[in-house]
Symmetry: C2
Subunit: 179 residues, 2 copies
Amino acid sequence: NVAHGLAWAYYVGYLKFVLPRLKDLIREFNKANNDLLKCKETWKLHILIPLSCEIHDDLKKADSNIQYCKDLPALQSDRAGTKGRVYKQSVYEIWSEDKKVNYCVVEYATPLQSLYAMSQDESAAFSRQDRLEQAQLFCRTLGEILERSKECAGCYRLIVYEESGDSDSHFLSKEILQH
Amino acid sequence: NVAHGLAWAYYVGYLKFVLPRLKDLIREFNKANNDLLKCKETWKLHILIPLSCEIHDDLKKADSNIQYCKDLPALQSDRAGTKGRVYKQSVYEIWSEDKKVNYCVVEYATPLQSLYAMSQDESAAFSRQDRLEQAQLFCRTLGEILERSKECAGCYRLIVYEESGDSDSHFLSKEILQH
Ligand SMILES: Nc1nc(=O)c2ncn([C@@H]3O[C@@H]4COP(=O)(O)O[C@H]5[C@@H](O)[C@H](n6cnc7c(N)ncnc76)O[C@@H]5COP(=O)(O)O[C@@H]3[C@@H]4O)c2[nH]1
Protein backbone atom coordinates (compact mmCIF):
# COMPACT_ATOMS: atom_id res chain seq x y z
CA ASN A 1 0.00 0.00 0.00
CA VAL A 2 1.34 3.35 -1.13
CA ALA A 3 0.49 5.29 2.04
CA HIS A 4 1.96 2.62 4.30
CA GLY A 5 5.36 3.06 2.67
CA LEU A 6 5.13 6.86 2.61
CA ALA A 7 4.29 7.00 6.32
CA TRP A 8 7.22 4.73 7.17
CA ALA A 9 9.63 6.68 4.95
CA TYR A 10 8.43 9.94 6.50
CA TYR A 11 9.15 8.52 9.95
CA VAL A 12 12.49 6.79 9.34
CA GLY A 13 13.84 9.38 6.89
CA TYR A 14 12.74 12.55 8.64
CA LEU A 15 10.68 12.59 11.85
CA LYS A 16 12.80 10.01 13.71
CA PHE A 17 15.83 12.25 13.09
CA VAL A 18 14.29 15.67 13.61
CA LEU A 19 11.70 15.30 16.39
CA PRO A 20 14.04 14.17 19.21
CA ARG A 21 16.27 17.18 18.47
CA LEU A 22 13.45 19.71 18.15
CA LYS A 23 13.37 20.95 21.74
CA ASP A 24 17.10 21.73 21.63
CA LEU A 25 16.67 23.59 18.32
CA ILE A 26 13.85 25.64 19.84
CA ARG A 27 15.95 26.37 22.95
CA GLU A 28 18.79 27.61 20.70
CA PHE A 29 16.32 29.63 18.61
CA ASN A 30 14.86 31.26 21.74
CA LYS A 31 18.31 32.37 22.95
CA ALA A 32 18.86 34.25 19.69
CA ASN A 33 15.27 35.47 19.35
CA ASN A 34 14.12 36.84 22.70
CA ASP A 35 12.28 33.69 23.81
CA LEU A 36 9.76 34.06 21.00
CA LEU A 37 8.46 30.52 21.52
CA LYS A 38 7.56 31.00 25.18
CA CYS A 39 5.01 28.35 25.87
CA LYS A 40 6.65 24.95 26.22
CA GLU A 41 3.36 23.30 25.29
CA THR A 42 4.00 24.49 21.74
CA TRP A 43 7.54 23.13 21.55
CA LYS A 44 6.36 20.59 19.00
CA LEU A 45 6.36 20.14 15.25
CA HIS A 46 2.80 20.87 14.18
CA ILE A 47 2.23 18.60 11.18
CA LEU A 48 -0.62 19.63 8.90
CA ILE A 49 -2.47 16.72 7.33
CA PRO A 50 -5.18 17.95 4.92
CA LEU A 51 -7.04 14.83 3.76
CA SER A 52 -7.55 16.54 0.40
CA CYS A 53 -3.74 16.45 -0.04
CA GLU A 54 -3.96 20.05 -1.22
CA ILE A 55 -0.68 21.46 -0.05
CA HIS A 56 0.51 25.04 -0.38
CA ASP A 57 4.25 25.60 -0.54
CA ASP A 58 3.64 28.95 1.14
CA LEU A 59 1.39 28.74 4.20
CA LYS A 60 0.33 32.36 3.78
CA LYS A 61 -1.50 31.31 0.61
CA ALA A 62 -3.53 28.85 2.63
CA ASP A 63 -4.48 31.51 5.21
CA SER A 64 -3.37 35.15 5.37
CA ASN A 65 -3.41 34.90 9.19
CA ILE A 66 -0.35 32.64 8.96
CA GLN A 67 2.87 34.49 8.30
CA TYR A 68 6.41 33.28 8.01
CA CYS A 69 8.61 34.46 10.85
CA LYS A 70 12.02 32.76 10.77
CA ASP A 71 13.73 29.40 10.50
CA LEU A 72 14.87 27.26 13.39
CA PRO A 73 18.59 26.45 13.33
CA ALA A 74 19.19 23.84 10.64
CA LEU A 75 20.28 20.26 11.26
CA GLN A 76 22.85 18.67 8.97
CA SER A 77 23.59 15.00 8.50
CA ASP A 78 25.42 12.79 6.02
CA ARG A 79 22.68 10.80 4.32
CA ALA A 80 22.98 8.15 1.65
CA GLY A 81 25.97 9.83 0.02
CA THR A 82 24.82 13.45 0.39
CA LYS A 83 27.31 15.19 2.67
CA GLY A 84 25.66 17.40 5.27
CA ARG A 85 22.11 17.13 3.98
CA VAL A 86 20.15 20.07 5.43
CA TYR A 87 16.95 19.64 7.48
CA LYS A 88 15.18 22.72 8.77
CA GLN A 89 11.79 23.80 10.02
CA SER A 90 10.14 27.22 9.81
CA VAL A 91 8.55 29.25 12.61
CA TYR A 92 5.27 30.99 11.78
CA GLU A 93 3.17 33.75 13.35
CA ILE A 94 -0.43 32.64 13.69
CA TRP A 95 -2.89 35.50 14.15
CA SER A 96 -6.14 34.81 15.97
CA GLU A 97 -9.43 36.51 15.06
CA ASP A 98 -8.99 38.83 18.06
CA LYS A 99 -5.67 40.02 16.69
CA LYS A 100 -3.39 38.14 19.13
CA VAL A 101 -0.28 36.52 17.73
CA ASN A 102 1.09 33.08 18.53
CA TYR A 103 4.27 31.49 17.27
CA CYS A 104 4.69 27.89 16.29
CA VAL A 105 6.75 25.45 14.26
CA VAL A 106 4.44 24.17 11.56
CA GLU A 107 4.59 22.52 8.14
CA TYR A 108 2.58 20.20 5.93
CA ALA A 109 3.26 16.45 5.87
CA THR A 110 5.37 16.38 2.69
CA PRO A 111 4.30 12.88 1.51
CA LEU A 112 0.77 14.19 0.88
CA GLN A 113 2.24 16.30 -1.90
CA SER A 114 3.46 13.07 -3.53
CA LEU A 115 -0.01 11.50 -3.23
CA TYR A 116 -1.48 14.58 -4.89
CA ALA A 117 1.04 14.55 -7.74
CA MET A 118 0.41 10.83 -8.30
CA SER A 119 -3.32 11.46 -8.67
CA GLN A 120 -2.55 14.07 -11.34
CA ASP A 121 -0.29 11.89 -13.48
CA GLU A 122 -2.13 9.41 -15.73
CA SER A 123 0.78 6.98 -15.72
CA ALA A 124 0.62 6.59 -11.92
CA ALA A 125 -2.77 4.81 -12.25
CA PHE A 126 -3.92 6.54 -9.08
CA SER A 127 -7.42 8.01 -8.89
CA ARG A 128 -8.82 10.78 -6.67
CA GLN A 129 -10.67 8.07 -4.77
CA ASP A 130 -7.38 6.20 -4.21
CA ARG A 131 -5.84 9.44 -3.04
CA LEU A 132 -8.49 10.04 -0.36
CA GLU A 133 -8.22 6.45 0.91
CA GLN A 134 -4.42 6.63 0.92
CA ALA A 135 -4.45 9.99 2.75
CA GLN A 136 -6.57 8.40 5.50
CA LEU A 137 -4.30 5.35 5.61
CA PHE A 138 -1.23 7.61 5.75
CA CYS A 139 -2.71 9.48 8.68
CA ARG A 140 -3.63 6.30 10.57
CA THR A 141 -0.29 4.57 9.92
CA LEU A 142 1.73 7.66 10.84
CA GLY A 143 -0.27 8.09 14.06
CA GLU A 144 0.40 4.47 15.05
CA ILE A 145 4.12 4.67 14.28
CA LEU A 146 4.53 7.90 16.26
CA GLU A 147 2.54 6.61 19.25
CA ARG A 148 4.91 3.65 19.49
CA SER A 149 7.99 5.82 19.16
CA LYS A 150 9.48 6.62 22.57
CA GLU A 151 12.02 9.04 21.17
CA CYS A 152 9.34 11.15 19.45
CA ALA A 153 6.87 11.28 22.36
CA GLY A 154 5.60 14.79 23.10
CA CYS A 155 7.49 16.31 20.15
CA TYR A 156 4.73 16.50 17.56
CA ARG A 157 1.12 17.37 16.97
CA LEU A 158 -0.82 15.88 14.04
CA ILE A 159 -3.41 18.35 12.74
CA VAL A 160 -5.73 16.35 10.52
CA TYR A 161 -8.54 18.11 8.73
CA GLU A 162 -10.93 18.03 5.80
CA GLU A 163 -11.57 21.41 4.35
CA SER A 164 -15.22 22.18 3.92
CA GLY A 165 -16.59 23.18 0.52
CA ASP A 166 -17.27 26.83 1.35
CA SER A 167 -13.97 27.40 3.01
CA ASP A 168 -13.57 29.85 5.79
CA SER A 169 -10.47 31.72 4.61
CA HIS A 170 -9.08 31.61 8.17
CA PHE A 171 -9.97 27.96 8.71
CA LEU A 172 -6.36 26.80 8.96
CA SER A 173 -5.11 29.36 11.50
CA LYS A 174 -8.08 28.56 13.73
CA GLU A 175 -7.42 24.84 13.33
CA ILE A 176 -3.78 25.29 14.38
CA LEU A 177 -4.68 27.52 17.33
CA GLN A 178 -7.13 24.92 18.60
CA HIS A 179 -4.34 22.37 18.86
CA ASN B 1 2.55 -1.22 -3.27
CA VAL B 2 5.18 0.37 -1.05
CA ALA B 3 7.88 0.77 -3.71
CA HIS B 4 5.44 2.27 -6.20
CA GLY B 5 4.72 5.17 -3.83
CA LEU B 6 8.37 5.64 -2.88
CA ALA B 7 9.45 5.82 -6.53
CA TRP B 8 6.77 8.42 -7.27
CA ALA B 9 7.64 10.45 -4.15
CA TYR B 10 11.33 10.32 -5.11
CA TYR B 11 10.47 11.64 -8.56
CA VAL B 12 7.90 14.34 -7.72
CA GLY B 13 9.60 15.46 -4.50
CA TYR B 14 13.20 15.48 -5.69
CA LEU B 15 14.32 14.32 -9.14
CA LYS B 16 11.72 16.31 -11.08
CA PHE B 17 13.01 19.45 -9.36
CA VAL B 18 16.74 18.76 -9.29
CA LEU B 19 17.56 16.93 -12.55
CA PRO B 20 16.49 19.66 -15.03
CA ARG B 21 18.68 22.14 -13.11
CA LEU B 22 21.69 19.84 -12.73
CA LYS B 23 23.61 20.89 -15.85
CA ASP B 24 23.46 24.56 -14.79
CA LEU B 25 24.65 23.67 -11.27
CA ILE B 26 27.59 21.74 -12.78
CA ARG B 27 28.40 24.64 -15.09
CA GLU B 28 28.44 27.00 -12.08
CA PHE B 29 30.54 24.51 -10.09
CA ASN B 30 33.06 24.21 -12.93
CA LYS B 31 33.56 27.98 -13.09
CA ALA B 32 34.53 28.04 -9.43
CA ASN B 33 36.48 24.78 -9.53
CA ASN B 34 38.71 24.77 -12.57
CA ASP B 35 36.40 22.73 -14.79
CA LEU B 36 36.77 19.70 -12.55
CA LEU B 37 33.84 17.92 -14.19
CA LYS B 38 35.24 18.08 -17.73
CA CYS B 39 33.46 15.35 -19.56
CA LYS B 40 29.92 16.38 -20.43
CA GLU B 41 28.94 12.72 -20.63
CA THR B 42 29.22 12.66 -16.84
CA TRP B 43 27.04 15.73 -16.29
CA LYS B 44 24.38 13.49 -14.75
CA LEU B 45 23.21 12.47 -11.31
CA HIS B 46 24.52 8.93 -10.84
CA ILE B 47 21.90 7.21 -8.71
CA LEU B 48 23.09 4.10 -6.87
CA ILE B 49 20.45 1.40 -6.50
CA PRO B 50 21.78 -1.56 -4.50
CA LEU B 51 19.04 -4.21 -4.57
CA SER B 52 20.11 -5.26 -1.06
CA CYS B 53 19.02 -1.78 0.12
CA GLU B 54 22.26 -1.62 2.11
CA ILE B 55 23.08 2.06 2.03
CA HIS B 56 26.11 3.78 3.50
CA ASP B 57 25.68 7.38 4.57
CA ASP B 58 29.35 7.84 3.72
CA LEU B 59 30.31 6.48 0.30
CA LYS B 60 33.93 6.03 1.39
CA LYS B 61 32.74 3.28 3.76
CA ALA B 62 31.29 1.41 0.78
CA ASP B 63 34.57 1.67 -1.17
CA SER B 64 37.76 3.45 -0.18
CA ASN B 65 38.33 4.36 -3.85
CA ILE B 66 35.39 6.78 -3.58
CA GLN B 67 36.24 10.00 -1.81
CA TYR B 68 34.16 13.07 -1.12
CA CYS B 69 35.36 16.09 -3.06
CA LYS B 70 32.92 19.01 -2.72
CA ASP B 71 29.28 19.98 -3.00
CA LEU B 72 27.55 21.37 -6.04
CA PRO B 73 25.90 24.77 -5.44
CA ALA B 74 22.71 24.20 -3.44
CA LEU B 75 19.18 24.72 -4.70
CA GLN B 76 16.57 26.27 -2.41
CA SER B 77 12.81 26.16 -2.73
CA ASP B 78 9.72 26.81 -0.58
CA ARG B 79 8.18 23.38 -0.05
CA ALA B 80 5.03 22.43 1.84
CA GLY B 81 5.55 25.18 4.41
CA THR B 82 9.33 24.89 4.77
CA LYS B 83 10.85 28.15 3.57
CA GLY B 84 13.88 27.73 1.34
CA ARG B 85 14.28 24.00 1.77
CA VAL B 86 17.83 23.05 0.72
CA TYR B 87 18.67 20.50 -1.99
CA LYS B 88 22.29 19.72 -2.77
CA GLN B 89 24.35 16.98 -4.37
CA SER B 90 27.91 15.95 -3.61
CA VAL B 91 30.79 15.53 -6.08
CA TYR B 92 33.06 12.53 -5.50
CA GLU B 93 36.48 11.43 -6.73
CA ILE B 94 36.39 7.91 -8.06
CA TRP B 95 39.79 6.21 -8.28
CA SER B 96 40.28 3.46 -10.85
CA GLU B 97 42.49 0.43 -10.21
CA ASP B 98 45.19 2.02 -12.40
CA LYS B 99 45.26 5.07 -10.11
CA LYS B 100 43.41 7.48 -12.41
CA VAL B 101 40.86 9.80 -10.87
CA ASN B 102 37.41 10.65 -12.22
CA TYR B 103 34.89 13.07 -10.78
CA CYS B 104 31.17 12.55 -10.68
CA VAL B 105 27.95 13.55 -8.96
CA VAL B 106 26.73 10.44 -7.21
CA GLU B 107 24.44 9.39 -4.35
CA TYR B 108 22.28 6.48 -3.26
CA ALA B 109 18.55 6.43 -3.95
CA THR B 110 17.46 7.44 -0.43
CA PRO B 111 14.09 5.62 -0.51
CA LEU B 112 15.98 2.32 -0.35
CA GLN B 113 17.08 3.34 3.15
CA SER B 114 13.39 3.50 4.11
CA LEU B 115 12.80 0.01 2.69
CA TYR B 116 15.73 -1.26 4.73
CA ALA B 117 14.50 0.38 7.94
CA MET B 118 11.00 -1.03 7.38
CA SER B 119 12.42 -4.55 7.10
CA GLN B 120 14.15 -4.04 10.48
CA ASP B 121 11.09 -2.86 12.40
CA GLU B 122 8.70 -5.62 13.50
CA SER B 123 5.70 -3.32 13.48
CA ALA B 124 6.15 -2.57 9.78
CA ALA B 125 5.23 -6.17 8.89
CA PHE B 126 7.81 -6.11 6.13
CA SER B 127 10.09 -9.10 5.56
CA ARG B 128 13.49 -9.36 3.90
CA GLN B 129 11.76 -11.11 1.01
CA ASP B 130 9.32 -8.18 0.71
CA ARG B 131 12.26 -5.83 0.75
CA LEU B 132 13.99 -7.51 -2.19
CA GLU B 133 10.77 -7.58 -4.23
CA GLN B 134 10.06 -3.94 -3.39
CA ALA B 135 13.63 -2.89 -4.27
CA GLN B 136 13.16 -4.46 -7.71
CA LEU B 137 9.75 -2.82 -8.09
CA PHE B 138 11.22 0.54 -7.00
CA CYS B 139 13.92 0.22 -9.62
CA ARG B 140 11.48 -0.73 -12.39
CA THR B 141 8.92 1.95 -11.51
CA LEU B 142 11.58 4.67 -11.19
CA GLY B 143 13.10 3.66 -14.54
CA GLU B 144 9.69 3.90 -16.24
CA ILE B 145 8.84 7.27 -14.69
CA LEU B 146 12.21 8.75 -15.68
CA GLU B 147 12.05 7.38 -19.24
CA ARG B 148 8.71 9.14 -19.72
CA SER B 149 9.99 12.38 -18.24
CA LYS B 150 11.07 14.79 -20.97
CA GLU B 151 12.48 17.30 -18.53
CA CYS B 152 14.80 14.71 -16.95
CA ALA B 153 16.09 13.12 -20.18
CA GLY B 154 19.86 12.75 -20.25
CA CYS B 155 20.27 14.07 -16.70
CA TYR B 156 20.59 10.83 -14.73
CA ARG B 157 22.17 7.40 -14.71
CA LEU B 158 20.62 4.55 -12.70
CA ILE B 159 23.31 2.22 -11.41
CA VAL B 160 21.50 -0.92 -10.30
CA TYR B 161 23.49 -3.74 -8.74
CA GLU B 162 23.42 -6.77 -6.51
CA GLU B 163 26.49 -7.15 -4.41
CA SER B 164 28.00 -10.60 -4.63
CA GLY B 165 28.60 -12.60 -1.43
CA ASP B 166 32.39 -12.35 -1.45
CA SER B 167 32.46 -8.66 -2.11
CA ASP B 168 35.29 -7.10 -4.00
CA SER B 169 36.10 -4.12 -1.80
CA HIS B 170 36.34 -1.92 -4.89
CA PHE B 171 33.19 -3.30 -6.51
CA LEU B 172 31.29 -0.03 -6.31
CA SER B 173 33.92 2.30 -7.78
CA LYS B 174 34.34 -0.09 -10.73
CA GLU B 175 30.57 -0.27 -11.15
CA ILE B 176 30.34 3.56 -11.28
CA LEU B 177 33.27 3.86 -13.67
CA GLN B 178 31.63 1.38 -16.05
CA HIS B 179 28.62 3.64 -16.36
N1 LIG C 1 9.38 18.66 5.46
C1 LIG C 1 10.44 17.87 5.14
N2 LIG C 1 11.68 18.41 5.23
C2 LIG C 1 12.78 17.68 4.92
O1 LIG C 1 13.90 18.20 5.01
C3 LIG C 1 12.62 16.31 4.50
N3 LIG C 1 13.47 15.32 4.13
C4 LIG C 1 12.72 14.26 3.86
N4 LIG C 1 11.41 14.54 4.03
C5 LIG C 1 10.31 13.64 3.82
O2 LIG C 1 10.52 12.45 4.58
C6 LIG C 1 10.24 11.29 3.77
C7 LIG C 1 11.47 10.43 3.63
O3 LIG C 1 12.49 11.15 3.04
P1 LIG C 1 13.62 10.46 2.14
O4 LIG C 1 14.84 11.28 2.29
O5 LIG C 1 13.76 9.02 2.50
O6 LIG C 1 13.01 10.48 0.65
C8 LIG C 1 13.16 11.64 -0.12
C9 LIG C 1 14.51 11.56 -0.81
O7 LIG C 1 14.74 10.28 -1.37
C10 LIG C 1 14.36 12.54 -1.90
N5 LIG C 1 14.79 13.84 -1.41
C11 LIG C 1 14.02 14.85 -1.01
N6 LIG C 1 14.77 15.89 -0.63
C12 LIG C 1 16.07 15.51 -0.79
C13 LIG C 1 17.34 16.15 -0.59
N7 LIG C 1 17.46 17.39 -0.11
N8 LIG C 1 18.48 15.46 -0.86
C14 LIG C 1 18.39 14.20 -1.33
N9 LIG C 1 17.22 13.54 -1.54
C15 LIG C 1 16.08 14.20 -1.28
O8 LIG C 1 12.99 12.57 -2.25
C16 LIG C 1 12.24 11.74 -1.35
C17 LIG C 1 10.90 12.34 -1.09
O9 LIG C 1 11.08 13.56 -0.44
P2 LIG C 1 9.87 14.44 0.12
O10 LIG C 1 8.66 14.30 -0.69
O11 LIG C 1 10.37 15.83 0.26
O12 LIG C 1 9.46 13.94 1.58
C18 LIG C 1 10.29 13.18 2.36
C19 LIG C 1 9.74 11.78 2.44
O13 LIG C 1 8.33 11.81 2.51
C20 LIG C 1 11.31 15.81 4.44
N10 LIG C 1 10.22 16.58 4.73
